[in-house]
Structures are given as structure tokens and as C-alpha cells.
């Protein structure tokens, strides 16, 4: 049998990175939520916030473990499967990943230990501070990963000598042209994704008539956040799209299914892009609409896919469809958030069982949107691994295709098992519910602790 190492290495990376991205996009948001619950608990002294904090921390622990182990795999895969890539871009990308480890990973890992196990050993303020530090750590990690990824998309601040990229200006490397948009888009996506999980769990409890007070709190907090962030994401995404048009116009052409650059761009609601005939089949489109969105002009032109030879084009079909899935989910999210806010304002949020039923099913939509977004941006970058610097086909390790195929199979089996059990156990934790009976106030939780003397900050208001 003939194995193509490039294709297999790409499959392996795509598989492992998609598996991995699920967990950061949840843990970035969830850590922020847990920290928020902690702060509210300290300020109000209301027990249900503490109960919720403990409850979500358990779910966080399970997700975080899966994120950590799959992340370690990725950091080694640059070398195992993409050693030419490591060699060519290592001088630039290496330090960005290095800073991620030094700034973010150690912080998260250490303070997660306190968050999970330190509850009985530290004062309330330090316990909540640990939650906040974990949240900052996850966001910092996103900062560096997205700096590295954005540099691969829109590289600046480097020179090429003997085929190897060397950094010249670190600020330009980190704050490369697409970085601010990508970071804002991703962080916001993570918070939205988590908010939908929280919303779904809250709705589920209300439907079942269990943990009603906690369920209502979760739903209110989630909708309050979503009504701001979901519309904001539309705006950020639009800005990000304009930035991509400027730096990677062919990616945008693939997203739009736009072949002929001499014509105004129609908004393809549905179509099947055909790379052989260079046209869209079964097209249902609104003429001029994409010109209007992308160039703010009725007849605005953007480069089409035909402006470059086929060897320079990304695979159009996955980019085109993933983009539609992402945007479709995004629009649905905005509608769901606005509707929820409207029902809340009307005072009937918790009575509309159809709304609760739909929301209880929506826990996964954020993840699908995030994965689709990554498919758009990563597949849209092809055939380049580092845009304009190194082609994906030239980035591969000297490893036989059969070896890559074998390890890919191992990854699929391992991650299949781990993922299945992870979802199963998270669901079990949700079913078990936030039932911790510990009726404690933040001020007296820690009276018998070694550092109890330092416990007062924030906890003093309640006694």
C-alpha cells in the first residue's frame, strides 16, 4: 500500500488539533466563569455561588486534564511530523511557544492544584485568586498560541537567510497584522462557547425541576453575557474578515466561493463549489451582497480564485462549507441570546419550556463553530504552512508514510476512548448536580486553616 506522508501528517495534525481545541475553547471560558463565581461569592456571601463554583470546578478539572494531555502531544508533533517546518520557522515560532510555557502553563498547572485541592488549606481570597490566576493563565496561553498561529498566516518582522526565517523585530512578529483580530475572535468564541454550555446545563436543570435556584443563576449569567458577546462576535468577525481580505485574499475568495475576480461578489447562501469547472453548482445567491459586506460598495471587486493557478489555491469545498457553518451558528447564537434576554425582560424566561428545551440541546454549538472557524483559517492558508515562506508539502519530517499512518490510527483509538469517557463523565457530573451540602460562608470556611490569619480580604462583609 502507498502512504502519502504529507497527507497523513496533515490528517494527524488536523485530528489532534481539532480534538485539542475543544478543550481550551471550553476551559478558557470556564475558568473565567469559575473566577467570576468566586468573586461574586466573596462579595455577596451567597452560598449558591460557592456551590456553583465547586460544581463547575469539577467539570473544569476533567476538561483541563484532557486539554493538557492533548496539548503536550501537539507541542511534540511539530518535531515528529513537521521537522522541516521546525527548522525553517523555529527561530521565530520557538520563542512564542516558549513564552507560552513559561508564562501560562506553569501558572495554570500550579494554581489549578490550589483550586482543586487547596480549598481546605488556603483562605477564601487565595482560593478565589487561584481561580482568577488559572483564568488569566488560560487567556495568556491563547495570547501566545494565537501570536504564533497569526504569524504563520501573516508573517512580519523576520528576514529569510538561506531559507530559514530569522526574527528581526519581535514586536512585529508578535503583533503581526492579523493577530489582534484573531485573538479577539478566539477569546470571544471561547467565552461564548462556555456560556452556551452553562446555559444548556441551567436549562436542563430547570426542565428537570432540580437545582432550580442554581439553574436560574446559570441561565441569567449566561444570557447576560451572551447578549453582549454574541453580537460583538459578529462585529469582530467582520473586522477579521476584512483583515484577511487585505492579507490573504485567496482565502476570502474560497470562503465566498468566489471564482471570477472581475465580477461583483454575490453572497452564496448555498452552493457546491466545483474545483474542476471553477464554478459553483446549485448556487442560491444574493447578487452584490458580499461586495457590499466586504468592500462597502455595490460593485466592489475582490480577487477571485481564478486569479491564481490551481496549485496556489486552498481546497475550496471545506473552506466554503466550514465558513457557512460558523456564520450560521453565529447568527443562531445571536438570535438565541436576544430572545433569551427578551424573555427575561418579559419575566417569562424560566416558564417558556420550548426555549428551555432548545437551549438544553445547544451545549455543543459553540464547539462546532470554533472547529469550523479553525478549518476556515487553517485550510484557507493552504498550500502554505507559513504563508509565503514555506509550503506544507516541504515542511514534512523524513518519516515513512506507513509510520505516520500507524500512529494516526493509535491517536484515533486513544482519543476516541478518552473523548467518549470524558463526555460521559462530564455528563455524569452534571447529572449528579451541584449538591454539595456544605453550608458555609466564605468567612468561616477557613477558620481552622494554617493561614487563617490572612483570610479576611473580601470575606469580612458577611458576618
Amino acid at each position: 500500500m502507498d502512504f502519502d506522508p504529507v497527507l497523513l501528517a496533515r490528517l494527524q495534525f488536523a485530528f489532534t488539533v481539532i480534538f485539542h481545541i475543544i478543550f481550551p475553547s471550553f476551559t478558557i471560558g470556564l475558568s473565567a466563569y469559575i473566577a467570576t463565581l468566586g468573586v461574586v461569592w466573596l462579595r455577596t456571601g451567597e452560598e449558591r455561588f460557592h456551590v456553583l463554583m465547586r460544581f463547575w470546578t469539577k467539570i473544569f478539572a476533567v476538561s483541563f486534564a484532557m486539554g493538557v494531555v492533548s496539548g503536550i502531544v501537539l507541542s511534540y508533533q511539530f518535531g515528529t511530523n513537521w521537522s522541516r517546518f521546525s527548522l525553517v520557522t523555529g527561530n521565530v515560532l520557538g520563542p512564542l511557544l516558549g513564552y507560552e510555557v513559561l508564562m501560562a502553563f506553569f501558572l495554570e498547572a500550579t494554581f489549578l492544584g490550589i483550586l482543586l485541592f487547596g480549598f481546605n488549606r488556603v483562605p477564601a481570597w487565595l482560593y478565589v485568586l487561584s481561580a482568577a490566576i488559572v483564568a488569566v493563565g488560560t487567556a495568556l496561553s491563547a495570547f501566545w498560541i494565537l501570536a504564533a498561529n497569526s504569524w504563520m498566516q501573516t508573517p512580519t518582522g523576520h528576514v529569510i537567510r538561506d531559507g530559514i526565517a530569522y526574527p528581526v523585530d519581535w514586536l512585529q512578529v508578535i503583533f503581526n497584522p492579523s493577530f489582534p483580530y484573531r485573538l479577539a475572535h478566539m477569546l470571544n468564541a471561547a467565552y461564548i462557547t462556555t456560556a452556551f454550555v452553562v446555559l444548556a446545563v441551567g436549562a436542563r436543570y430547570l426542565l428537570a425541576g432540580r437545582y432550580v435556584a442554581e439553574g436560574r443563576t446559570m441561565m441569567r449569567m449566561a444570557i447576560g453575557l451572551l447578549v453582549i458577546l454574541a453580537p460583538l462576535q459578529l462585529f469582530i468577525g467582520d473586522q477579521h474578515g476584512l483583515n484577511t481580505l487585505k492579507h490573504q485574499p485567496i482565502k476570502v475568495a474560497a470562503m465566498e466561493g468566489h471564482w471570477d475576480g472581475s465580477k461583483p461578489v454575490a453572497l452564496e447562501l448555498f452552493a457546491w463549489p466545483d474545483e474542476k469547472t471553477e464554478t459553483n453548482r446549485f448556487s442560491i445567491a444574493i447578487p452584490h451582497a458580499s461586495s457590499l459586506i466586504l468592500t462597502h460598495s455595490w460593485n466592489g471587486l475582490i480577487p477571485g480564485l481564478k486569479s491564481v493557478p490551481p496549485s496556489e489555491r486552498p481546497p475550496v469545498v471545506p473552506v466554503f462549507f466550514a465558513f457557512r457553518i460558523m456564520v450560521g451558528i453565529g447568527l443562531f447564537m445571536i438570535a438565541a441570546a436576544l430572545l433569551g434576554a427578551f424573555l427575561w425582560w418579559r419575566g417569562s424566561l424560566f416558564e417558556q419550556r420550548w426555549y428551555l428545551r432548545v437551549m438544553a440541546q445547544c451545549w455543543w454549538i459553540g464547539f462546532v463553530a470554533v472547529i469550523s472557524g479553525w478549518v476556515v483559517t487553517e485550510t484557507g492558508r493552504q498550500p502554505w504552512i507559513a504563508y509565503g515562506i514555506l509550503r506544507t508539502a516541504d515542511a514534512i519530517s523524513p518519516v515513512p508514510g506507513a509510520t505516520v499512518a500507524g500512529t494516526l490510527a493509535l491517536f484515533v483509538v486513544t482519543y476516541g476512548i478518552v473523548f467518549w469517557f470524558g463526555i460521559y463523565y462530564i455528563n455524569r457530573l452534571i447529572v449528579r448536580g451541584p449538591d454539595q451540602p456544605a453550608a458555609v460562608k466564605p468567612s468561616d470556611t477557613f477558620s481552622n486553616r494554617p493561614i487563617a490569619a490572612a483570610r479576611d480580604a473580601g470575606g469580612t462583609t458577611i458576618d
Binding site: A61, V62, A65, V68, V69, S70, G71, I72, V73, S75, Y76, F78, G79, T80, S83, R84, S86, L87, G90, N91, V92, G94, P95, L97, G98, E100, V101, L102, M103, F105, F106, L107, E108, A109, T110, F111, G113, I114, L116, F117, G118, F119, R121, P167, V168, S397, P398, V399, P400, T403, T407, L410, F411, T414, V418, F421, G422, Y425, R428, L429
Partner: protein, 333 residues
Amino acid sequence: MEWYLPLIWSAIIGVAVILYVVLDGFDLGIGILFPTASDERERDQMMRSVAPFWDGNETWLIMGGVGLFVVFPQAYAVIMPALYLPMIIMLLALVFRGVAFEFRLVSHSKTWWSFAFTAGSTIASFAQGVILGHLIEGITVSNGAFSGGPFDWATPFALLCGLGLMCGYGLLGATWLVMKTEGPVARRARGQAKFFLVLVLAFMAAVSLWTPLMEPRIAERWFSLPNFYFLWPVPSITALTAYLVWRWINEERDAPPFLAAIVLFLLGFAGLVISNFPYLVPPSLTVWDTAAGPASQIFMLMGTLLLLPMIIGYFIFVHWLFRGKVAEGESYH
């Protein structure tokens, strides 16, 4: 070219690697010792002794890997493909072991995740030893890239190193349990520590004899004059330390056997460095051959000098916070 930068960096990465080996060593060792516990309650106790730390410990593995990628990209690009299979097997084993910490707590029947924890820890330890052993043996390189086959690493020497490191981690894990637990677990760990100590000494002796026989350059490093005058204390102190581990276990001391076991690891590591410096990929690439551009090294160095002390600081803090012994049946959730 700033010739001293790769030296500073090999020291930093060396520290990261040894920190990883010692820190993840003791929690991987817990996994190796897991089947010897008499019930799941005892296993809870063993796991609880490392649960707050394992994640931070494992981060040093990323630090070592990324450090290599940052500062010695060419070595990274050679070592990773050469050790492709043991690397990926190690990573997958760590996946099972890592999720076992959380899954075991949530599942109704702990048996399978206890097994995954043991299997993951054992396989990861063995694979790490194989990786180390094959690095010492040397990697086939032509034109600065790996040019060997996918099973080059499967040599008797590398497999021996795999078993040796497993026993080493077993020793660290057992002495850790002596320090951090009480009751039957701690009592059993004393016997296990002695058992692994004997095996570790045997493996250390085997490697110390094998490497100079295999590599004339290593023989010359150790046995030529005047090097021999400076180097003979390494094996002597090793023997003395091993004696102290044994004695302190017999005296039922808590922390000293663990600390002495760490010293044993440091000495073994020193031996490897003495044998192989300045080669990063023996016998072809030195630290200077594979170093990144000075700009990258300096940029990373600034951050490291600032952040590493902070990391070590909160690292010590968390160990202090969770000081003391873990009682039987203690767990979160």
C-alpha cells in the same frame, strides 16, 4: 556568534530536563507502584499524594521539548523524527495516565482507570528511558537531517536504559510515598524502595560499563589523565548516596531517603553530561552546531531569567501548601 549563549541554554535545558525527570519521575513511579496497593482506598491515598502536583510536574516536559525547539531547532528537527515511535508512544501513554487522575475519581468502577494509570505510567517511563538510551548511542544524521529508519531506536542498550529508568522512577515513587503517606502504604513503600534501589544500582553499573566500551570517545573522557582525577568522585559519591538511601530507609526516616534518591538521579545525570558534552545529538551535532540565531536565544533568555524564578517560587509555595502526609482515603470530589 555569541559562543556562550548555547552554553547558557544547554544549562537551562539541562535543568529543565532534570527537574522533569525528578518531578514527573516520582509521580510516574506512583503509577508503577500502583498495582502493589492492596485496595482502591490505598490507591486513592497514593494518587492523592501527587494529584496537586502532577500537572505542574509534567509541564517541565513541555518546557524541555519547547526549549529544544526554541534554542536548538536543528537538534529538535533531528531528534524528533529519529525517535518518532517512542516519542508518540510516550505521549499516548501520558494521555491515558493524565486523564486517569480525573476519570478515576468520577467513574463508578475505578479498576480500569487504575489500570490505565499504571499502564500509562509504566509505558511512558520505559519510552523515556529508550529515548535517552538511543540519544546516548547516537542518531544517524546526514546533511543535518535524520537519515535512519523508524526502528533504529530498538537496540539492546536503549531497551536496557528503558528498564533502568523504570526502576529509577520506581525508586523515586517509593521514597516519595515514604515521605508523603502513612499507614500500610508507607510501610510497603520502604521495602519497595530498597528493592528498586538495588535494581537502579545494577542498571547504573551496567550503563557505566557499557557506554565506554561502546564509545571510545566516552572511555577517553573518563579514563584519560588528568580527567580521571577529577571524575572518580562521581561514582564514589554515587555509592555513598546509595548507602545512605538504604540506611535512612532502615532508620524509618521520612524525607531523607527521597532527597537522597534525587541526589542519585543528579549524579547519574551528571555522568551522562560528562560523557556526552558538548554533543546534543551524539556523535554528530554539538550544542553550537544546532543553536538558533542569537536574537531568538537572547529574546527567550530575557523572559526565562525573569519568569523562571517566579515559577520556582510558586512551585515551592504549592509544595509548602500541600506539605505533610496524606491520610488513608483522602481525596477530593
